[in-house]
């Protein structure tokens, strides 16, 4: 197949050629970046939390009366005992936060008492000796809290507990050589805290963009926080009994005391619901990008079909002459396929530059990450295939033009 005659013919369709190439280029730029955004969002929303999501739920419990810290602490212990006694419940704990809460308490971590700038940042959970079992996180080194280490903590009290359990991510960040167990750090206090246990993996309460550098870095203080606001009761149902446990638990709490507020709408949240809420903007963005990509590819494909059909209609006579002069059907088919490949080739070349440019612009304006070139490559292949697929029907129609056309009305 000679390319030169094709190029020569395209010169007669400059505008059409440029428009198809431009459309392919813009499509490539948008589709690559959209796919990259989809990939990032999906990767983010499918990050594991490390907890037993299938059986967990959370009760958002607010206190209605103005009790003293001691009264709140007693009520919390009674509530927890009642929850743990429910037949459908495996274990329960009280905390200030839970993974994917979307906000919460963070401590800056220092290695030395006189350090000014932080070493890193950790998501803070308060928990008793039931915390690890309730969340279903795996203790991989050291030990759990003992009952005598758990103490109530008043609001706005900064005393730091002497012992702490940390996630592996935090342990590795502080002691990259793997020697964290038994070592200590300073969590915004003058007194050190000793790491007595390490859990395999547990997601932070906050998974927003700013906390990406601190992913999975969390610590558990052996404390019950007597906040006048309320507390989160985290409950782990026995396998298969989540629905029953979610139904029983608020009743059990109200049986303990009615002076509490559990929102009827979203006061009891299954972990599936928590996950759904935590990532709703990621999911939404991915869906929107997916729809736009799909419609865009369809429209670009249809546009190619439309323009090529027009060209075929316009050139019936020339095709007839070529056929009369001995060109086979396959030659005609090849002609249009090659023509499309040339246009699409120019389009993707420009599009690749635009795609990278758009990504750079979004990195600057919207704090996006750098897009791996693999996306551009995949987009190039996809659009070349789309072009070939779109051109096939009109090209085949062209190849069926009869040589007799050559003799008509010349």
């Amino acid at each position: 197949m000679q390319i030169q005659p094709i190029v020569a013919a395209l010169r007669h369709h400059k505008a059409g050629t440029v428009l198809i190439a431009l459309q392919i280029a813009l499509t490539l730029a948008i589709v690559c970046n959209a796919l990259f955004i989809i990939h990032q969002r999906v990767a983010h929303l499918s990050e594991p939390t490390g907890v037993d999501e299938a059986n967990l739920f959370v009760i958002v419990n607010q206190w209605a009366d103005q009790s003293s810290g001691e009264q709140i602490d007693a009520q919390m212990q009674a509530d927890l005992a009642a929850l743990r006694q429910l037949p459908a419940v495996r274990d329960a704990t009280a905390s200030n936060a839970y993974p994917l809460l979307g906000g919460g308490w963070d401590d800056l971590i220092m290695m030395k008492p006189d350090q000014v700038q932080k070493t890193t940042d950790a998501s803070v959970y308060f928990g008793d000796q039931h915390f690890i079992d309730t969340l279903g996180v795996k203790l991989i080194a050291g030990r759990n809290f003992r009952a005598d280490e758990i103490a109530p903590m008043k609001p706005r009290d900064s005393s730091t507990p002497p012992v702490v359990i940390v996630t592996k991510a935090l342990a590795d960040k502080l002691y990259p050589d793997g020697s964290a167990l038994g070592k200590s750090f300073y969590a915004m206090s003058a007194t050190p805290t000793t790491i007595i246990g390490i859990v395999a993996r547990m997601q932070r309460a906050e998974v927003d963009t700013w906390s990406r550098d601190y992913a999975y870095q969390a610590l558990i203080w052996p404390r019950r926080m007597d906040s006048s606001f309320g507390t989160f009761y985290i409950v782990r149902a026995k396998p298969g009994e989540l629905a029953a446990a979610m139904h029983e638990a608020p009743k059990a709490l109200y049986a303990q005391s009615r002076l509490r507020i559990i929102d009827p709408k979203d006061g009891v949240l299954s972990f599936a619901e928590i996950r759904h809420r935590a990532y709703d903007s990621d999911r939404g963005t991915a869906i929107l990008m997916g729809i736009i990509c799909a419609v865009l590819l369809v429209i670009t494909g249809a546009g190619i079909i439309g323009l090529t059909s027009f060209w075929v209609g316009q050139r019936r006579k020339q095709i007839g002459i070529r056929r009369a002069l001995g060109a086979t059907r396959r030659d005609i088919l090849r002609y249009f396929q090659t023509e499309n490949l040339l246009i699409a080739g120019a389009g993707v070349a420009l599009g690749a530059v635009l795609a990278v440019g758009l990504n750079l612009w979004m990195m600057q304006q919207l704090a996006m990450d750098r897009m791996p070139l693999l996306y551009v490559l995949a987009g190039v292949v996809a659009l070349l295939l789309l072009g070939q697929g779109a051109v096939f029907a009109p090209a085949r129609r062209a190849s069926r033009v009869s040589p007799v056309e050559a003799t008509r009305s010349v």
Binding site: A15, G16, L19, I20, L22, Q23, L26, T27, A29, I30, A34, I37, Q62, W63, A64, D65, Q66, G103, L108, P113, V116, Q117, K154, P155, R156, D157, S158, M188, S189, A190, S228, F229, R258, R260, I261, D280, S281, G284, T285, I287, L288, M289, I292, V295, L296, I299, T300, A302, G303, G306, L307, F310, W311, Q314, L358, M362, Q365, L366, A367, V410
Partner: protein
């Protein structure tokens, strides 16, 4: 003539239904995607208080020092600690000023409610109401004397007054919030500036409307903790309310009203002077580092517009652009296919201008059809926008008259603009070439 061109356009469009449909669908989808994402974007990026946004400022004072800045960028904290907040309030250096922090309180059962409910509001100074132009249905806010008197007063929102008192004029009545009694002095009309520019420290700016407003001074007396962010630096040692107030923890949002540039300059000087005093007194070990941002600058700085909204709008506009390029190509093909017809019309005396008109009207018809399809898709998309955005943001998107008009205007004008080049080509067809052999 117009009617004739319209007739020609419809005939021509009917001749290639597939091509016409493709153009209409492309424009419809393109404009719908842009309008759906724009309906969200305009809600989250709008000016929440248009007539006063240039007179309201939030002062920032660096009480942490350059080494401990929020994002390591040398910016002062996004809120004030108690010490600085009180100093600003007592200095009275602005025309009006308020401190704000969010609170959440319980409301005990009464009437037909058997269980307590939770209510959220703000602890503010009396200036809050005139500063932010809060509209009142009944009664009023409170004055500076009542602030100083640490009075147990409260202003309810219209919605909350509806919930507690069935919407009647409740001014003068007592209400118990968080176990303490307050006398109702006012009930606001529905008032919920979006984004809620005055409370962005630890809040997205798109929360449910507030239920009540109570005096800041009273809230402090009752030791009502903040329901918003509380951010501290360095080694913290505190053991209760008073030591928390003395700590470097920031949690109070200040707002001041300044009438003109001179007032702004004066206030900035005051902030610098205050910081310099603190440095001299040894409380700050660094040079004064203050900011004074107005409403729009503050919202930009706090990144109120969710990144996903911006990205979606950008990508949708890119998508629309491609749809238009597609339309240019298809119109070109469509128009040039009729070169013979154009040749005949030109030979019979039609001017280029008339050919131009004919094809632009044809394009306008396509644009109108695309716009109508786009309108349907936009309406469907806006009602399904909950799939794409967080619920608190999705509920802000709505179709109104301006969006309908914009959708149609954008669709028609974009299509007509796209048709300029193809029409120009059509108008420049050489009649002689096309009169042969046809």
């Amino acid at each position: 003539m117009l009617a004739y061109y319209l007739d020609l356009a419809l005939r021509s469009l009917k001749r290639n239904p597939a091509l016409t449909a493709l153009m209409v669908v492309a424009i419809g989808f393109g404009v719908a995607a842009s309008m759906i994402t724009y309906s969200v974007f305009r809600a989250v990026s709008g000016n929440p208080i248009p007539d006063k946004s240039a007179q309201l400022f939030t002062p920032q004072i660096d009480s942490w020092g350059p080494q401990q800045s929020f994002n390591g960028d040398g910016e002062p904290p996004q809120a004030l600690d108690y010490t600085d907040a009180m100093a600003l309030m007592h200095a009275h250096a602005a025309k009006r000023q308020t401190l704000i922090y969010p609170v959440q309180l319980s409301v005990m059962p009464s009437g037909n409610r058997s269980l307590p409910i939770s209510a959220s509001g703000y602890a503010v100074y009396g200036d809050f109401f005139p500063m932010f132009e809060v509209p009142f249905r009944y009664g009023n806010g409170w004055n500076a004397k009542q602030d100083d008197g640490r009075a147990a007063l409260v202003v309810l929102s219209e919605e909350f007054n509806q919930k507690l008192f069935g919407g009647v004029n409740s001014v003068g009545r007592e209400v118990t919030l968080g176990g303490h009694q307050y006398r109702i002095v006012g009930v606001t009309r529905r008032w919920n500036p979006v984004p809620r520019f005055y409370d962005l420290f630890g809040s997205s700016g798109f929360e449910e409307p507030a239920d009540f407003y109570l005096p800041f001074t009273r809230a402090l007396d009752l030791q009502i903790p903040t329901n918003g962010n509380n951010s501290c630096r360095g080694k913290i040692s505190m053991n209760g309310w008073d030591s928390w107030l003395r700590s470097n923890c920031v949690w109070v949002t200040p707002w001041v009203e300044l009438d003109n540039a001179a007032g702004v300059a004066r206030y900035r000087n005051f902030l610098e002077g205050y910081s310099a005093d603190q440095q001299r007194a040894g409380r700050f070990n660094w040079a004064p580092n203050v900011r004074l941002r107005d409403v729009m600058r503050w919202m930009t700085y706090m990144h109120v517009v969710p990144p996903e909204s911006r990205i979606s709008l950008m990508v949708s506009l890119g998508f629309f652009l491609i749809c238009l390029v597609n339309t240019v190509g298809l119109l070109l093909a469509k128009f040039m296919r009729r070169a013979g017809e154009i040749g005949v019309r030109r030979a019979l005396g039609a001017s280029r201008r008339e050919i131009y008109m004919q094809f632009l009207i044809e394009a306008g018809t396509v644009g109108l059809a695309g716009g109508l399809l786009g309108l349907l898709l936009t309406a469907a998309g806006v009602s399904g926008v909950g799939l794409l955005f967080r619920p608190e943001i999705a509920r802000l998107a709505h179709v109104d008259l301006s969006l309908v008009a914009l959708t149609l205007a954008v669709a028609i004008s974009a299509t007509v603009i796209a048709a300029f080049y193809p029409s120009w080509r059509a108008a420049h067809v050489q009649p002689a070439w096309h009169l042969r052999s046809n």
